[in-house]
Symmetry: C2
Subunit: 341 residues, 2 copies
DNA sequence: TTGTATGCGTTATCAC
DNA sequence: GTGATAACGCATACAA
């Protein structure tokens, strides 16, 4: 009759000579079901190419199968890696990923997110830094009753709602590496104020200096805002110092690239005259000349873990007490050498 | 009574003392409605914070408000720019973006897409290159009855289903620029076989040479696969030539970066000894040293246009015969100079 | 201008 | 084990 449209559960029921409920049972793998009827229904399903309507399912179940990704465009590679990690887990489930960028500068960010959550009512959402650091946002999710996982550079919330790297520790290792190479004047290009990641990384830098018995000097720290240009400006300031630092740790690769740029403009040889370490291990790091020593954090792994936390204890996927902390590694390339002096 | 859950249209109706239908009319901006009742209903809506359930709406309307983005991870910046462009348009509508990456190498790509389309039944989907070039995929969308827009480097389909740049023309201009600077041995690092973009760009290169009265030599074209490493390998081959080309056009920035890398390893001065032009104007282009002359295509604009095509003639948004072709521009930076010889 | 009855495709309740 | 029947939240016919 109405073959023009997508077949529904009714069509299957009619053709198989059973009730809707039975078909529903087949779809939902109900255990109490006669093997014969099951096979018959499955045959019909395969034959007419029936596929359940997620909208209707969502309505009846009073819950849907959408996972939201809320972010404020940190950097392209990061967002995409997260998406990839999430989708790797979601691929074999009935969940779909729905992306919702926001503008943290707009002032209506919270309202925007609230509207998104109330409208779509996603099953769970993942929050990317830097907005993941916003406690009000986390409270909003909790209040609305939406599962959420925050990604961050430190564990600033309950483990159940976090996937975090340990940036402080990672940077400590990186700067330690510099000190071990013989550097005694190690500068830092820090991230912007208000960013947890910037704070953690600076802490790691200072700890490493203390561990190495080196003085922590304010003049050796220049602040940037994670952009290439700000990295250039910060590097200018650092390289104007006398004596010049022989090494500089940069809070991200982008700024490291800017620093490298400036150093070369000044005729400095990298790494002979200046060692540079970045953070993130974005593609730019390996393509720079010389390739950049940097810190890599397991972003895809973290995203996968986040996805599991979001959809976990829902399906048969056991909700083992998953760890919230993930370890970063120092990627040693050619931008670091002992000081030449 | 049941205040624990999200308010529904029934709650609004009851509290406002009207029928569900009237509330529905308010929501859908029906013109034939008493101003008083409208205001009363709107007041209740605002008071109890009612927000329509999209799932139920979708079910009743027999259509949903999801726009799909199907891609095979071309490059991160591109995917993100497209997302941004799409969401800019979708932001003020009731549509949401749902991302669905696929693996064109897996063999099950078409089945994967088909399943996605049949399950979610998105209102429309956007196809990114290179899979957008796959005609079978486009036919699949058409067959299933899903609106679609293909993004490409040339108009290889009906304008209604396309947003395209004109890569051939853009490259012609870029190589012309090289010729105008006095270069007579201009090499090319081409993209991988089977990519429409690679083909178009090579065509543009050859046309420019012909226009300039220069011979088209096979040896001056080295093939890469759009990766940094392949750019390095291709550059090696080109720079081994005697006489050496004095300029090289690269089919994308990534490969241009690889070429730059190799040139510097060989002690060549850029641009004095070798001029380099890239394509895409990704962030890497401006951060390279020297900054890379490259072709910028209006990716966000194209994405916005695509979004309009997808949701167009649905809302009041007029479906003016939008153009399918978008023009690229040559971004002149420091990697090009007249040949030094 | 507003209300009533009915349907959208699925699942849950509770019988048989 | 299986099947009527009533939700789920909203929209469309068709009356009133």
């Amino acid at each position: 009759m109405k073959k023009s449209t997508q077949p529904t559960i009714n069509d299957v029921a009619r053709l198989a000579g059973v009730s809707k409920k039975t078909v529903s049972r087949v779809i939902n793998q109900s255990p109490l079901l006669n093997g014969d009827t099951r096979k018959r229904v499955e045959a019909v399903i395969a034959e007419i190419g029936y596929v359940p309507n997620p909208q209707a399912r969502a309505l009846a179940l009073r819950r849907n199968f959408l996972i939201g990704l809320i972010h404020d465009n940190p950097n392209a590679q990061m967002v995409l890696n997260v998406q990839q990690g999430l989708l790797e887990v979601l691929r074999d489930t009935e969940f779909e990923l729905i992306v919702h960028p926001v503008d943290r500068g707009s002032g209506s960010m919270l309202d925007d997110v609230r509207q998104f959550l109330e409208r779509q009512r996603p099953y769970g959402v993942m929050l990317l830094p830097p907005i993941s650091e916003n406690d009000t946002l986390a409270e909003l999710c909790a209040e609305i009753g939406c599962r959420f996982v925050r990604m961050g550079s430190a564990q600033f919330g309950p483990a159940a709602n976090m996937v975090a790297s340990n940036d402080r520790e990672a940077v400590r290792g990186a700067v330690e590496h510099l000190a071990a190479a013989g550097h005694r004047r190690i500068g830092m290009i820090a991230g912007p104020h208000g960013f947890r990641s910037a704070f953690e990384r600076q802490q790691g830098y200072e700890q490493a200096l203390e561990d190495a018995g080196l003085p922590v000097q304010r003049t050796l720290v220049a602040q940037g805002d994670y952009t290439f240009e700000s990295g250039m400006r910060a590097a200018e300031r650092l390289l104007d110092l006398a004596p010049r630092p022989t090494a500089v740790f940069c809070s991200n690769d982008e700024m490291a690239a800017g620093a490298l740029h400036v150093a070369r403009q000044r005729g400095l040889d990298i790494p002979a005259d200046l060692s540079i370490v970045g953070f993130d291990d974005t593609s730019i790091a390996s393509h720079l000349w010389p390739p950049l020593t940097t810190v890599r954090w397991p972003i895809a792994t973290m995203a996968r873990a986040a996805a599991l936390k979001l959809i976990g204890d829902n399906d048969e996927i056991a909700d083992e007490p998953q760890d919230a902390l993930f370890v970063s590694t120092l990627i040693r390339r050619a931008s670091v050498a002992p000081p030449s002096a």
